[in-house]
């Protein structure tokens, strides 16, 4: 167990050869060694796990695929680690293609992050890769393939890290709730469909009869509205690129018809650990009849917030605590943001019980405020922070102000990003000394997506240094929400909370026509991935490389 952070020489050579093949790591070998040779962990206890990646048959209702899976199931097995221990995870790839596992949201050396082309070359067919890293955090996370379209096909699973000390969340029972979007279509075929027609899966477009109806109703407004959208060549009904036209939305790998059920005993505090492991779908989650207390976001403890509903972007996680009562059956209802379908499950005292399934809410339509450049939403304005903004396009009315005054009110309390506040203060509260501005860009018609107008393959890396305090400004110039995921560090979301209590997120939704600000400090050097977590956005170029140099190297460079 000695020195298990440093790679054997042979492995290092393999990484180095990856560099020469064009991965463009940008770090000198000495720096590589510096970054991977952590302090000797001595005889710290370790959790050792064996995982295998296998192609398995999987059936949802009447549709069937042979899909790459982790451990033979979709989702893959729950991985449970403990903070302060070492994780040793042997992953054997039994596919006939290269695969990988990325530990989403975990702080670890870059060469354990599992991103082909960044961390390593991937796990070749028939080979075993052993991940070794100290577990430096607690909370609910997930893990998934970072190779090709394997994640869409079924390679995702929940990961829970129990805290070293006492858990600030009091609960009697917990369930992982993994939401996903499943299809029997070949994902590359889906991307090809979108390249041929960006609205291929949109069956809720505006029609001529609606236009005529609008003219009769308010001709001036209707013509102005249509003219604006037409001029921009943008579609207000483009809420999701891929929809229920092909997807069945799953909860823990189970279709709405098959109804996943979690049991409870009345009086228990039940912790639900939601993961959005979908490739392309945001969900609005509610459990009618149950108030949810949000206790964690992206694995990080937050001040408890009582809500009726929350939106979970692709790759985000939320932990909520609920207190179901005797004699009730509850439906966990996760409707896709575009209302083309839903995932559902049940909380009940006995197997086989079924609660009422609510009707889906009205489908949101984008408004002029979402249109890039139409209004000045130059960020920093708290009234326009993400959670609030989402409401702008929603047709359903939800009165935030009314909440908290009366439990009886009919209005739903919906989680907003401004509600999130870190439970423990952030370690680094310095003012940023470095601004990194990222424009979220793309072309819905040609169907490719970019950062600062460039695909990963065309762009230069963004160079940072360990310990450097960074202000990340993400400005969305597209018509869609993008769940932006930064590897290797938490983004402290500047949501109006005191900076010391800014919530730490690994994935942040950036709404259309808005700027979201996050502060961060890297502790680990390496090339780190930054990308939109919508799979087809990432695959077509919405991806950047953060090159984080070790602090020592920076010092050397200033003393020639």
């Amino acid at each position: 167990m000695k020195n298990h952070h440093s790679l054997p020489r042979r492995d290092f050579v393999r990484i180095a050869s990856g560099v020469s093949l064009g991965a463009g790591l940008g770090l000198r070998p000495a720096e590589l060694f510096a970054s991977i040779a952590g302090p000797d962990s001595g005889d710290r206890p370790a959790t050792e796990v064996h995982l295998s990646i296998d192609r398995r048959g999987f059936t949802v209702d009447d549709r069937h695929t042979d899909a790459p899976t982790i451990g033979g199931s979709i989702p893959g097995p729950l991985l449970r680690l403990r903070e302060g221990q070492d994780a040793i995870i042997h992953v054997t790839n039994n596919l006939d293609e290269v695969s990988s596992i990325h530990w989403h949201g975990l702080l670890l050396p870059f060469d354990q992050d599992g991103v082909p082309g960044f961390s390593f070359e991937g796990i070749p067919p028939g080979e075993t890769f052993t991940y070794r890293f100290p577990v430096r955090q607690a909370g609910s996370y997930w893990y998934h393939s970072h190779s090709g379209t394997q994640e869409q096909e079924g390679m995702y699973a929940p990961l829970i890290i129990d805290p070293a000390g006492e858990d600030p969340v009091r609960y009697d029972r917990d369930y992982s709730i993994v939401l996903s979007d499943w299809t029997d279509e070949d994902p590359m075929g889906m991307l090809r469909n979108l390249k041929g027609n960006g609205a291929y899966y949109n069956y809720a477009k505006r029609t001529l009869p609606q236009f005529i109806g609008g003219l009769l109703d308010n001709a001036g407004e209707t013509i102005r509205d249509r003219t604006m959208w037409g001029e921009m060549r943008m579609d207000p009904t483009d809420i999701a690129d891929v929809t229920g036209a092909t997807y069945t939305y799953l909860l823990n790998g189970t279709s709405p018809a098959a109804n996943w059920t979690g049991l409870f005993t009345p009086g228990e505090r039940v912790r639900l650990r939601f993961v959005n492991a979908a490739a392309m779908s945001f969900f609005d989650v509610k459990i009618p009849g149950l108030r949810m207390t949000v206790v964690q976001a992206d694995g990080q403890d937050v001040e408890p917030v009582r809500v009726d509903e929350f939106r979970i972007g692709v790759a985000e996680t939320y932990d909520v605590v609920v207190e179901p009562v005797a004699g009730e059956v509850y439906t966990i209802f996760a409707q896709s943001m575009d209302r083309s379908g839903f995932a559902r499950g049940t909380l009940a005292e006995t197997e086989g019980a079924e609660g009422e399934i609510p009707a889906m809410d009205p489908r949101p339509v984008r408004t002029m405020a979402d249109m890039p450049g139409m209004e000045d939403h130059s960020g920093h304005d708290m009234a326009d922070m993400p959670g609030d903004h989402d409401m702008a396009g929603m047709e359903m009315e939800m009165d935030h102000a009314a909440m908290g005054h009366s439990e009886d009110t009919m209005s739903l309390r919906r989680l907003r990003y401004e509600d999130l506040q870190a439970l423990e203060p952030n370690r680094d509260v310095r003012e940023p000394t470095r601004d990194v501005e990222i424009q979220l860009t793309g072309d819905m018609e040609r169907y490719f997506w970019t950062l600062n107008g460039k695909k990963l393959s065309e762009s230069d890396p963004i160079s940072l240094t360990v310990g450097e305090r960074v202000r990340l400004l993400m400005t969305n110039g597209t018509m869609m929400e993008h769940p932006m995921h930064l590897h290797g560090v938490f983004m402290e979301l500047q949501n109006g909370a005191h900076p010391a209590f800014a919530p730490r997120k690994h994935t942040v939704i950036v709404p259309p026509n808005q700027t979201v600000e996050a502060h961060l400090t890297y502790e680990d050097p390496g090339p780190w991935a930054f990308h939109c977590h919508l799979l087809f956005h990432m695959m077509t170029g919405m991806f950047a490389r953060f090159e984080v140099a070790p602090a020592i190297a920076a010092d050397e460079s200033t003393q020639p």
Binding site: V98, R233, E445
Partner: protein, 233 residues
Amino acid sequence: MMSIRAAAALALASTILAGSAQGQEMDNMVFHFSQLEVDASRVEGSGLNRWDGSGWIGTDFDRLWWSTEGEQAGGTVGGAEVMALYGHYFRRFWDVVVGYRQDIEPTAQGYLAFGVAGLAPYWFEFGALGFISQEGKPSVRIEADTDLLLTQRLILTLGGELDWLLTDDDRLGLDSGIAEVEFGIRTRYEIRRKFAPYLDLLWVREKESPGSPDLNPVAESDLRVGIGLRLVY
């Protein structure tokens, strides 16, 4: 035919490349799209079949565009052309294109082709092409069409095309001026996105012979009614 073989080779290469790529930088892969529409109508008592195919293969930025259109009446091909263009994405929504057009019927003739194509404001698919024939005669073609949804699957396509000879063309036997105008309303029902039967209303006028100053109906009636099928691959 060359272009089809070249396209097949490119497709094969892209498959092999895609299979070997493991990094995150494979973000500019080769894709392809093909659409074929065939329809049948009756003009002056005899059957008239038309075809209109188009597609592309390439990356987001560089594509080989191909198209073919023509018609056949009573077992004889009355008009047919094929075109292959290299297109480069030069700004959002737009490609600049250059390539070659070959007319097969009624007059076999080759052309250098160049122009722009893309999505114009208000959702018009738009193309403006200039041609220089092998005899050095310039001409212009403007095409535009847009979709109007009656329902999510019942869709009207309004389209038009205009061919304009900038000088007299002896080989075609036509004087300078507008050589052909076409307007169409095509109503398709998308049983699937890739499989849609349609009803076609087409209004065509074209110049028939040298010296004729006017555009004339090609048959007794300006209007043709056809039924057809759109296939997308």
